[in-house]
Structure formats: structure tokens, C-alpha cells
Symmetry: C2
């Protein structure tokens, strides 16, 4: 039976994926520098073996034959998702992929070298080549998938999301935020208290782990370590999260830990029986980001959460840590609104404008309405209009700040803000079903909140496209007003 | 070209081996318990994929074709070793291997359950089955390899070693030790000083790492962690060593660390260009053990080493650690001779008798001259004769103490003592070439000592069989007198 053969193939692929995931974690957390070269070789070889096994013509034949077999509805859903992945894997010729990988590696390396000095002029030729190849990729995928080129790229990160749905939502959000941000800035008080104590790493770690546990992270199936760039990796049965600690500011690690915990909970909540099929994996970057932002923004930056969390901070970091602080003092830190040029430093009110700026420009690049050499001007014009800031002649803090384009990731940026909006929409829906949700947070109780999320999101894995998943979970399509209400409540109330 | 195709195949196998090695390390050092089930699945799958890739008939054809190709002498050596491995991999039918694995797993699990109570009677049927299968394996291998059955098993752990060479050496050593041990016990003074301080783990770790570095371990390509059972794992470019700490006795971790460092230096010293060919791997268990015992016994327990090491202990563990100790006080601890029932607790003088006992019994089991049910009596008789100790009705500390036979490893035990003898022979040869070697140790200088070892052993990898390697390194065959002289010098001088 072809379905059974696919099942066996998927088990092999899962083992290779398990190895790649764990080797990636080990590389960031444990590996000494000298191990890097051979590790990179091994990783590339495992990736090539996986790709070959997953994309060979015999896989296509197995899928086609299995479609005619007597399958349960669950099996049929799994097969449909495998077919989607297979078609996406085989859209591009291996010759094209090779050319593209080479150009991307070269461009990313050059970007790392030129970014500190913001040398846009020297970088432009490499970026131009990456963009040309992205346009070619988009066209090739579009032809096979019967989608618009930019949609075909979005599909790689967020299956089912389309410009037709995103564009109006982003337009409305942009209009909202252009008015909202100045109001939020005007309404906020400056922080009254600042950190003066030093926060030992082992205590910060214990605090982080206590909060992870409380919000539902299962330490029987995961752990928290340290790495230069925080991430959530590993496999669903063994989720490896990392953070990095700043002894002068415990909130920096803690907020990061809560964010990664959101990713971790999603992974831990995926259905075990289908772990080797793509239908059992997380549903793309947007839904993943919605889960991390749910924990970080909806829960971890809410006033209710801090009613419960303040005593925990004192308990773990000692009485001198935030001596004399009221909850308002802490909220002024986690709710600070401030415009700035750098996306990764942005707060939740300004972040979407950074994303929309990039979305508009990359869409233009892919569609050919913006030329690579015009990116700095397009960037400056939008940054001025959306956030009142100039990036004229400042490439480093302008279009050279992110790794995405240099590494060839076009269609990824929208995920961040779609994820933030979905998180707010999920919270609103959850609160409708479970009106005690905010009281739960005040009491450090996350069982019902997580039960709802498990039911609506985690256990659904990749059974549906992102838009379908959202409608099934919340009863409505993507609706930016939930995010707007969330911001209004938090920053203007 | 077939040789080039084999080269590519070996790179894939190296990547799979890299993954398996690192997943094994991660499992022991980092993995939370809940990750174990899926990890075991992934490991089994990767092992099966490796085995399939390495043992398929097309590999045999590639080897045969490559033999007719125009190859350099190095390539020809690599091909010869690959052929040896291939023949050994394909001696057994996959059906037989499956039966054997099942019996071994069952037997080892049963052993873990029954060992604490020493329930030999309940264990015997499972062990008998494992022994029957080992005899069958030995016969199958013997037919293909044109070797005696027990030699065919030894070949799996120590290529080239044969009973014809081992038997007289073991017989002589046994005769020597039966006289020597009582003399050594009579000659030794009891320890005058005992540990009273507590040794914090972080300081023990720093001390261990300082010594590792001094004896040549490259921390750019390796690290030291903690695990329940100490081991040396990873890959040559990234050697992962572990230990466990006893805060009441710093020597227990330190001696273990020196032992594992010996393994680690061998791995780090293997030739990089051939890392993906079996010719570039370590030459079996005996040579590996010779390298660990070289560092632990020849270096790490020598009086000269401690002239240099005592001040380091004080520096790292603080002035109270071994307050008032003279070097002799410390040597009384690292040179203690004591008979006992347990192999892993034995000192270097009694250890070989534990091994020879097992060698004689397992040889008899494989050859059919000893029946499984007679093992306890054979054990007791030898233990009484060699060490003057009884194991009558004491199965737990008798034939049930080791995991080797329950897990089906017959032919492995000789490696331990062959390794110890080779370590002594290598030291004697090194000292002839480099008479300042003991002075080097007094000064914590290991450059020349390691240079000699790199030249004679590490860089030779699997180019030669163990006996050939030894002759090339020391100019003579395995000669037990070097080990005897080593013991005389250390324990009777």
C-alpha cells in the first residue's frame, strides 16, 4: 500500500529531521568553534539526503497511488498536506536551487561584512542578484501553484495566506497606527523607577523556568539553555529553548523566554501520532509567531499577568531586585512605546509599521514595480511617513538592518504582524469562550487558557491553511480590529 | 570512477555517523527524560539507514571495481580497510541480525532487572540464548573470514588480534600476577592521609580542564561535561568527554577525566583527510584502550606526573584540600593494590586477572567446552585460584556483574588488558626514543610525548591491524614483559 510506504518514508525523514534539529541546537548551545566546519558539512549532507528522499519522482508516484487507496479522513488530510509540500519541493529544478543557494550564501556573507559600515553601494549588486532569483523563483512557483508570484512566496512561509486578504487588513492597520502611536506616546508616563540591582544569571534562570512551567511548558519534554541568539528548536518531544541574560535588566531575558515559550508550547502541543507527517507539524511561520506573541504580548505583558508575576520576581531575584516598585512601575517598562529605526527593538505598537514598510517594498521588488536600487529611497519615504523618522544616507539602520532579504527570504515579513493580529484575535475569542481568562492570569492559572489553545490551534497542526485554521478557531476571518482593541485597551485606557 | 563513488558514499555515512554520535552525547548530557522514546526511534532509524547504505550489494561491486582502478598507495590502503569492514558487515543475514538484536535486548533488559538480586537462575535461559546466537555468529563469521570462531569475534573489536598471539601472553601474565599481587600488597604502606575537605564541583571541573589542556586536549575541538556514566564521544573534530564528580574525593573524577582524555587525544589526532573512510578511524577497542590507559596509568598515576600535578591541585582546590600532604600521601591513593570481586573497581595489578578469567570462560563458551550453566562454577574456581576470593552463590558480584555478555559482546574483554599491555610497551618504546620523557612529566610538558604518539599511533588510524601497528610503533610484537616491568617499578621499587 502506497500510504504505508509513505508512512515509512516519513519516519525516515523524521529521523533525519530530528538529527538536523538537534545538531542545530547543539551547534548554538554546546559546540566548540573548531567543530563548526565538519558540523556544517554534516548538516549540508543530511539536508541534501532529506531533500532527495522527500522530492524524488517515486514520492510523487506514491502520493498519486495513495490518493486512490481506501483511506480514513485523517489519512486523506495527511496525504493532501504531503502533496502540497511535495509540489512546493519540486517546483524548482535542482540546478536553479543550486544557483540560488550560492547567490544567497554570497549575499548574506557580504551583508555581514558590509552592514557595520552600511556600505549599500557595495552590497547592491549581490542583493540585486538575490532579488532577480527571488523573482524567478516566484514566477516558477506561481506557474505551478497557479498563484500570483508574491503569493507563491508567502505560501512558503504561511500556507494559504494571500495578498488579497492581507492587503486590506494591513492598509487599515497602517491608517490606525499612524494616528494611534502619537496618542499612545502622549498618554504614557515616563518610567519612575529603573533597575539598579544586579540580577545573577542563575536566579534569572530559575525565575524564567518557574514562569515557563507555570504557563505550561513541560520540562519532561524540553529545557532552557543559553545561546547568543535566543531560539526555540529541537523536536516536539524535546523542545530546546534558549535565552541570553543581561545582569542589569532581568526583563530582557524574561520577555524573550516568554516569547520562546509560546513557540515551545505550540511544538509540545502538536499531535504525537502524526509527528512524522507534515500534517502533524506546525502550520507555518504566521501561526507559530501568533503562538509566541500570544504568550509574550497577550499574556506576558498584560497587567493581570504581572499581578501574579511581581511576587515571583521578588522571590527569585531577592528583595532588593525591584525594591519599592509598584505594579505600575513595572508596567511602564513592559508597555513603553517609542519610535525607532530598528525593527527588532520596536514595541508592539510600532512593530507592525516596520513590517508593513518591508511588505510593501518586497512586494514591489517581486512584482517589478520597485527596482533594487530604489529601495533606500522607498524605505526613507515610508519611514518618514509612518514613523516620522529619516533613514536618508543611513543604510545600516535602514534597508541593511535585516538578514531576511540578504539571505533571500521574501514573503516572510508579513508573518510577524499577521501573527500579532492573530494572537489578539485568538485572545478575544478565548475570552468570549472563557470569560475568566484574565482572572486566571491574575492567579497564575493557565490550564483553561492552554486547553482552549490546544484544542483550537496546537492539536490542529497543519490540517488546515492558516486562514481556515483561524476561522475554525475564532469563527471569523483575519480581523485587525481585535489587535486595535488590544492596543487601545493596553495603551490608551 | 568507483573509488570516487565510494568516497561520496563514505561522506554520507560520515554525516549519519556524526549525527548518531552527537545525538548519543546529547542523550547522555542534555536530553530530558521525556525525549528518550522519540530519540531511540530516531537513533534506530539512522542506524538502519547507515547499515543499509554501507552493506548493500552495490557497495561490494564498487569495492570490486575500485580494486581494478589506478589508485595511490594510500587509496589502496583505504580500499582494503573498507573491504574488510564490508565483509564483516555482510557476514550475517539481516534475518539473523534481527533475531540476535531481539535476544540481546531482551537479555540485557532482564539482566538489569535481575542483577540487583543476583538471580542467576532466572537469567540463565536468556543468557543461554544469547550465547547460542554468539556461537552461531562466530561460526558464520569464521566461515567467511577463514578464522577460528572466537578469533572471528575478537576481530569485531580488535582487527588482527588472534588467540594464537594472545593466549601465551595472557598465560605468562597470569603466572606473573599470581605471584606479583601478594608481593605488591605486602610491600605497600597503608594510606596515611585521607580526604577530609569537600571539593566543589566547579573547582574540580577547572582542575580537570587544566590537566586535560596540559596533556594535550584541544578545547577548540572538544569539551568536558557531566553524565551519569563517564565516556568519550562525539567526532574527531568535536570530542565530547564526560565525567561525574564526587565532592568527597576529587581523585575519582580526575582519574576518570585523564582516562577519557586518552581516548579524546586519539580521536583528535586521527588524520582529518580520511575522516570519512574507515581507514581514518581509530583502530579498534584495544588500541583505543591503550591510549586511554597510557594517559591514565602510564602518565596520570606516575610519581613524576604528581610532582607537577600536586601544586595544581592546591591551586584549584584551595590550600585546605590536601593540607600537609606529601607526594607519597597522594601516591598511596593512586597506587593502592587491593583484591576484590568487581572488575570496574580493580586496580591495574588485579584488573588483568579479572579480564583473563572472563577471556578463558567466554572462549570456552564460544568453543563449546564450557556450558552456560557451568559459568558460576568456572567463575568461582578461577576467582579462587587467581585472586583467592570466592564467588560461591554470589552471582551478583560474580558472572552477573558485567553488561558485556548479557548484551552479547563476546570477544571484547581481552581489549582491556591488551590495551594495558600495549600502553606499557608504547611507554617503554617512547622512553627509548625520548629518554627525557619522565622529566617532561615532572614539568608538565607533553609536547614530545604526544608528538611520538601522534606519529606512531594516532596518525596511523586504521592503516594497519593492531599487531602490525604495534610492531611498527615499538619494533616488537606484543610483549607482556613491558607491562610486568611497569608494575614492578611502580609497586615493588
Amino acid at each position: 500500500m502506497s500510504f504505508a510506504r509513505l508512512d515509512m518514508l516519513n519516519r525516515k525523514l523524521e529521523a533525519l529531521g530530528h538529527a538536523q534539529a538537534m545538531l542545530g541546537v547543539d551547534e548554538a548551545v554546546m559546540m566548540p568553534d573548531g567543530g563548526g566546519e565538519k558540523r556544517a558539512e554534516a548538516m549540508a549532507m543530511l539536508a541534501a539526503m532529506s531533500h532527495e528522499m522527500a522530492s524524488g519522482p517515486e514520492v510523487g508516484e506514491m502520493i498519486a497511488t495513495a490518493e486512490g487507496e481506501d483511506l480514513s479522513p485523517e489519512q486523506r488530510t495527511a496525504l493532501r498536506e504531503q502533496k502540497r509540500v511535495y509540489v512546493n519541493l519540486t517546483c524548482l529544478s535542482s540546478d536553479f536551487v543550486k544557483r540560488q543557494v550560492e547567490a544567497r550564501v554570497r549575499s548574506e556573507q557580504l551583508w555581514r561584512k558590509l552592514r557595520p559600515a552600511g556600505d549599500w553601494k557595495s552590497f547592491l549588486p549581490a542583493l540585486t542578484q538575490v532579488i532577480e532569483l527571488a523573482r524567478e523563483e516566484a514566477q516558477r512557483r506561481a506557474d505551478v501553484l497557479k498563484l500570483d508570484p508574491y503569493d507563491a512566496l508567502i505560501e512558503q512561509f504561511d500556507p494559504g495566506s494571500r495578498v488579497a486578504a492581507i492587503a486590506p487588513v494591513f492598509a487599515e492597520l497602517k491608517a490606525f497606527l499612524k494616528d494611534f502611536i502619537p496618542q499612545a506616546i502622549a498618554a504614557q508616563k515616563p518610567a519612575q523607577k529603573n533597575f539598579s540591582a544586579s540580577f545573577p544569571i542563575d536566579r534569572q534562570k530559575a525565575l524564567g523556568e518557574t514562569m515557563m512551567k507555570a504557563v505550561g511548558f513541560d520540562f519532561e519534554h524540553g529545557r532552557l539553555d543559553v545561546s547568543h541568539h535566543p531560539f526555540c528548536g529541537g523536536v516536539p518531544t524535546d523542545v530546546r529553548m534558549t535565552t541570553r541574560y543581561d545582569t542589569a535588566d532581568f526583563l530582557s531575558a524574561l520577555m524573550g523566554v516568554l516569547h520562546e515559550t509560546g513557540h515551545g508550547l505550540y511544538e509540545q502541543g502538536l499531535p504525537k501520532a502524526w509527528s512524522h507527517w507534515s500534517v502533524g507539524s506546525a502550520r507555518g511561520m504566521t501561526v507559530h509567531e501568533s503562538q509566541s506573541l500570544f504568550v509574550e504580548k497577550q499574556i506576558g505583558r498584560s497587567a493581570e499577568f504581572w499581578e501574579w508575576a511581581m511576587p515571583l520576581v521578588r522571590e527569585h531575584l531577592g528583595p532588593a531586585a525591584i525594591d519599592g516598585w509598584e505594579i505600575e512601575d513595572l508596567l511602564l517598562h513592559v508597555h513603553e512605546v517609542k519610535t525607532g529605526l530598528i525593527r527588532v527593538d520596536a514595541d508592539e505598537t510600532t512593530y507592525p509599521l516596520h513590517v508593513i514598510l518591508r511588505y510593501e517594498i518586497e512586494k514591489g521588488l517581486v512584482e517589478g514595480t520597485i527596482r533594487p536600487r530604489d529601495v533606500p529611497e522607498e524605505w526613507h519615504a515610508r519611514m518618514s511617513e509612518y514613523l516620522g523618522l529619516s533613514t536618508r544616507d543611513n543604510y545600516k539602520d535602514g534597508p541593511m538592518q535585516d538578514v531576511h532579504w540578504p539571505s533571500g527570504a521574501f514573503g516572510y515579513f508579513p508573518s510577524y504582524t499577521l501573527g500579532a493580529m492573530i494572537a489578539a484575535q485568538l485572545w478575544a475569542s478565548l475570552e468570549k469562550d472563557h470569560p475568566g481568562a484574565r482572572d486566571d492570569m491574575r492567579n497564575g492559572r493557565f490550564v483553561e487558557i492552554n486547553g482552549w489553545r490546544r484544542d483550537k490551534v496546537w492539536s490542529q497542526a497543519s490540517r488546515y491553511s492558516t486562514p481556515e485554521l483561524l476561522v475554525r478557531a475564532t469563527g471569523e476571518k483575519l480581523n485587525g480590529r481585535h489587535f486595535e482593541e488590544h492596543l487601545r485597551r493596553r495603551y490608551l485606557a
